[in-house]
């Protein structure tokens, strides 16, 4: 029997408004514990929430970017439950009238086909504080995060593979980044994702019960957990059993999901309308105002990159998935008109180094204009591509200037005819067999001879010239 995996995602994204959703405390990440709170976000008796209009603006912005319907009438509701990090013992959220509904995100798969992942809703709510466990017998609480504005995005169960989930999240993350509504940093918790998953027999005869997976701190974890759970559910069904309706968490050390609690008894949150906040009326003018200010979004940018710069769709996708990288690429293209070379360099040397050293664009030691200078040296055959890589590596490590590096590393390419002729003659004399091979059509031998010449020139000879000269001699 064949099975199909069904995945729906719930994404929480912290909004990077300057102040929290119901008070004027800062939303800055990383402050000393309990220094960014007040009676309102601590839920002190008598305090009242006042909605930060920017939170509505940001949520509507996201809703428009994901092609949602924006509610003309909306309200806040209370979700009641006890937990020490929830200061009022209720979370102010939205229940039956979310701000945005019926959206979608279109993903482009590696085979070139596209697929729409539907969004059920986007609603706004407040974040909770943080419990810090594991210090002897006590748990400590940090309320800096309490009351930070969130959007919760809920998808339809349209996702069928880990690849689709990651493509969806890439697109979602990039879009939120372009909109400048969230920092979307999973490692800081400003982007959080829960997976709801089950499997269904392709003939529809049997299906597993839904598991919810929490504590996913990277897209990789999302991908692995879907793989793991799909397999687990499928195996259970194959064995004539079924999964339990449960909540699990991803253990990234053991690479597996771990049972947290059963969902057989659904918690009753006793939702009711928040009486402290008056309902929202959202005018068409308000929506229009936000719509007009929407920036170019990743999808549009990608299409433009392919068209305008004639680079492969895959490269364009990688570039636009990171707003800063896309911007960097465009800045380079503006200064140096060889988008393909730039894109190649970014896709290979630069991203490889950055990933290896875990360095972000903001942390690069060299300036963008130095990279342009390096590219020009390569394009004008002043140095070889290989030499360029050596220079780049040094620039990356120390931030030194490219021209100075070329000089000090002695990498200046020599295109002097007489100098190269002399070395070529020398090498040909030393390798009479190779000449025979070339004459017999063994092209590999050319490469060998070029290598010998480059060695003698200490890498400085212009390899194109060397190759041409060898061919001229032999053929």
């Amino acid at each position: 029997m064949e099975f199909k995996t069904i995945v729906g995602l719930e994404i929480h994204s912290e909004l990077k408004t300057k102040s929290k959703i119901f008070c004027s405390c800062t939303t800055e990440f990383g402050g000393d514990v309990n220094t960014q709170c007040c009676p309102v976000c601590m839920g002190f008796p008598g305090s009242l929430p006042v909605v930060n209009k920017k939170v509505l603006d940001y949520a509507i912005k996201a809703g428009l970017a994901f092609e949602c319907d924006i509610a003309s009438h909306s309200k806040m509701d209370r979700k009641n439950y006890f937990y020490p990090d929830l200061v009022k013992a209720y979370q102010i959220s939205q229940y039956d009238l979310p701000l945005c509904s019926n959206g979608k995100i279109t993903i482009e798969k590696s085979d070139g086909t596209t697929k729409d992942i539907g969004l059920i809703r986007i609603h706004i709510e407040e974040d909770t504080g943080k419990s810090l466990h594991g210090l002897k017998e006590v748990s400590l609480l940090d309320y800096n995060r309490s009351g930070v504005g969130l959007i919760e995005i809920v998808t339809h169960p349209d996702i069928e593979t880990p690849e689709e989930a990651v493509l969806f999240l890439d697109e979602l993350k990039a879009t939120l980044e372009y909109l400048e509504v969230s920092d979307v940093k999973m490692e800081q918790g400003s982007l959080r994702c829960d997976v709801n998953i089950n499997v269904v027999a392709k003939d529809g005869s049997i299906k597993s019960r839904i598991s919810e997976i929490k504590n996913l701190n990277s897209f990789k974890a999302v991908q692995k957990s879907i793989d793991y759970e799909a397999h687990r559910h499928t195996e259970l069904l194959k064995a004539g059993k079924n999964s339990e309706k449960d909540t699990r968490r991803w253990d990234s050390d053991k690479n597996k999901t771990v049972f947290m609690r059963s969902k057989q008894h659904v918690e009753d949150y006793r939702y009711f309308p928040e009486p402290d906040i008056v309902d929202f009326e959202i005018s068409d003018e308000w929506i229009q105002e936000i719509r007009e200010k929407l920036p170019e979004l990743p999808k549009a940018k990608k299409e433009r990159f392919v068209k305008e710069f004639d680079i492969p769709a895959y490269d364009a996708q990688v570039l636009v998935n990171d707003k800063k990288l896309a911007h960097y690429f465009e800045a380079l293209c503006a200064d140096f008109n060889d988008p393909k070379l730039i894109s190649n360099w970014i896709m290979t040397e630069m991203l490889r180094r950055m990933n290896l050293e875990e360095v972000t664009l903001d942390e690069l030691k060299f300036e963008e204009k130095d990279l342009v200078i390096l590219f020009k040296q390569i394009a004008e055959n002043k140095i070889s591509n290989n030499a360029g890589k050596k220079v780049f590596r040094k620039m990356f490590e120390t931030g030194e200037k490219p021209l100075a590096l070329i000089e000090s590393m002695g990498l200046k390419q020599i295109s002097d005819d007489d100098f190269i002729e002399e070395l070529v003659t020398e090498v040909l004399e030393e390798n009479p067999d190779a000449i025979e091979d070339i004459k017999n059509g063994k092209d590999r031998a050319i490469g060998y001879l070029v290598g010998q010449v480059m060695k003698k020139s200490k890498g400085k000879a212009n390899p194109q010239m060397v190759s041409q000269m060898i061919k001229d001699h032999c053929l």
Partner: protein, 484 residues
């Protein structure tokens, strides 16, 4: 007449004319407090030293001829559910016995802006749930007219303090009658303003969509003065309505000629004693003599008011009081095993019976499966009750009813019968549900105990009810001082 028997506007005149000092006023009320507090038990906290210091500052300002607010240098008390910075705010609950708020309620700031000297916090039913102050975790306040009787509630401490001359005016909060009913039972004036007129910021919430802060005072003019001080939009409370500021003193006009008064028959039904009915009709006749006219009307959804109230208020209270979990502030059980046990024990020890009862009722009515049958339906009836009033106000300038169905009851009389206790709010609860303003003024006596008359107005039309109340007061002599 003693100084402590005077009204706010009378002592304000004396202060202006420099016939008395603020310090002397504060000393006088504290003398009075020392004399009667043991009997009346109005206060949970008193700030004598600080009050005297503030009075000195005010006296200096009077001496310097500075322009001063209507409450400048005058001792005022506030119910102990309004947050006062660095001063315990207990809500008369064990749960908050040691709770010290890090901020002032907006009304506290507003009173102080007017120069008022806050001399103490008054007793109340725990978390404002009750009609007699008998639900206070700390003490039972007594009615100054007869110490065997309750002063009403939940703002019973405020009402008793003003009635006993322990203070010149006080703030209360009114969710279902908690200002008007004790004002009626103590023979003083109390206003429940329109929902949204006065900021709730810093008022420890009981039922957020019903709570409103208002004044308790010796006469209508004082009530207008205090309302002037506390009314107005507050950006910290998004349910407070941005409106042009009104000077309610301008409504102190002795004239009801041509005024049309609706008298809803549902407020004179079973449960309201014949003596109270008779007295209110006499009062209406007096208003007719003064040029008003009245007509019997029907507000057909009145009978659903109490059930509606006892769904909505407990539902909101169950959520509002959930934050008292023993984690950040308030009572925490000394011993517990695990977080759930900490919650259960702390809440079980911290809350009194009536509070627990309402939390349980509210939790139940919000539970999935019951929500539609209870809360959702109650919200729909709420709209109908509101419509009743809106329709009536198309024809009438105000509506008059008894404030309470009977005179004050004896201490202990209803403590074992919550339903009987709830019935004492039968005339006041619909007004909170509709969100309209109402004032209670003395309208006579039954068996030597004062009876209140409730005058109800349209949304944000406090002026009309103040005008009717003032005219009645000026032309009758029911406004008397209790002899203690």
């Amino acid at each position: 007449m003693e100084i402590y028997d005077l009204t706010i506007h009378e002592v304000r005149d004396l202060l202006k004319k420099k016939k008395i000092t603020s310090v002397a006023l504060v000393e006088k009320v504290f003398e009075r407090i020392e004399a009667v507090e043991e009997d009346v038990a109005s206060f949970l906290a008193l700030y004598k030293e600080e009050a005297l210091e503030k009075a000195e500052v005010m006296d200096a300002k009077y001496a310097a001829g500075e322009p001063l607010g209507d409450l400048a240098g005058i001792p005022i008390a506030v119910k102990d559910n309004m947050c006062t910075i660095d001063k315990n705010t207990t809500c008369a609950s064990k749960m908050l016995e040691n709770f010290v708020p890090p901020y002032d309620a907006t009304v506290i700031k507003k009173l102080e802006d007017e120069g008022a000297i806050i001399i103490g916090k008054t007793n109340m039913d725990e978390f404002a749930m009750g009609s007699s102050t008998e639900n206070s975790a700390f003490q039972v306040s007594r009615n100054p007219w007869n110490l065997d009787y309750v002063p009403g509630g939940s703002s019973g401490g405020s009402a008793a303090a003003v009635t006993a001359g322990e203070v010149f005016g006080a703030l209360g909060s009114d969710t279902g009658g908690s200002i008007r009913q004790p004002a009626a039972l103590c023979g003083i004036v109390g206003i429940k303003p329109t929902y949204g007129l006065v900021s709730r910021y810093g008022l420890v919430a009981f039922a957020s969509s019903l709570d409103q802060i208002g004044p308790l005072s010796k006469d209508v003019e004082d009530a207008a003065i205090m309302l002037n001080a506390i009314a107005g939009h507050d950006e910290r409370d998004s349910t407070s309505v941005p409106k042009k500021k009104i000077n309610y003193k301008k409504a102190l006009v002795n004239d009801v000629k041509g005024m049309k008064i609706g008298v809803p028959k549902e407020y004179f039904g079973e449960g309201v004693t014949p003596k109270v009915k008779e007295l209110i009709y006499k009062a209406l006749d007096r208003l007719v003599e003064l040029g008003a006219e009245y007509e019997e009307i029907s507000l057909p959804y009145t009978e659903y008011s109490l059930p509606t109230y006892y769904i909505i208020a407990p539902a909101e209270c169950s959520s509002n009081l959930a934050r008292f979990d023993g984690i950040r502030y308030g009572h925490r059980a000394e011993t517990f095993e695990g977080i759930d046990d900490l919650y259960t024990k702390s809440r079980n020890q911290g809350f009194g019976e009536e509070v627990k009862r309402r939390i349980m009722i509210g939790t139940h009515s919000l539970a999935s499966g019951y929500y539609d049958a209870y809360y959702n339906r109650a919200m729909k009836v709420r709209t109908l009750i509101r419509d009743d009033f809106d329709k009536a106000f198309e024809k009438f300038d105000c509506i008059i009813t008894p404030t309470a169905p009977d005179k004050a009851f004896k201490i202990g009389e209803k403590t074992d019968d919550p339903l009987a206790m709830y019935m004492s709010d039968i005339c006041t609860v619909p007004i909170n549900i509709a969100g309209v303003p109402a004032i209670s003024i003395p309208a006579g006596f039954v068996d030597g105990m004062p009876i209140g008359m409730q005058i109800i107005g349209q949304h944000f039309d406090e002026e009309t009810i103040i005008k009717v109340a003032y005219t009645f007061e000026q032309n009758t002599d029911f406004n008397k001082r209790a002899t203690l």
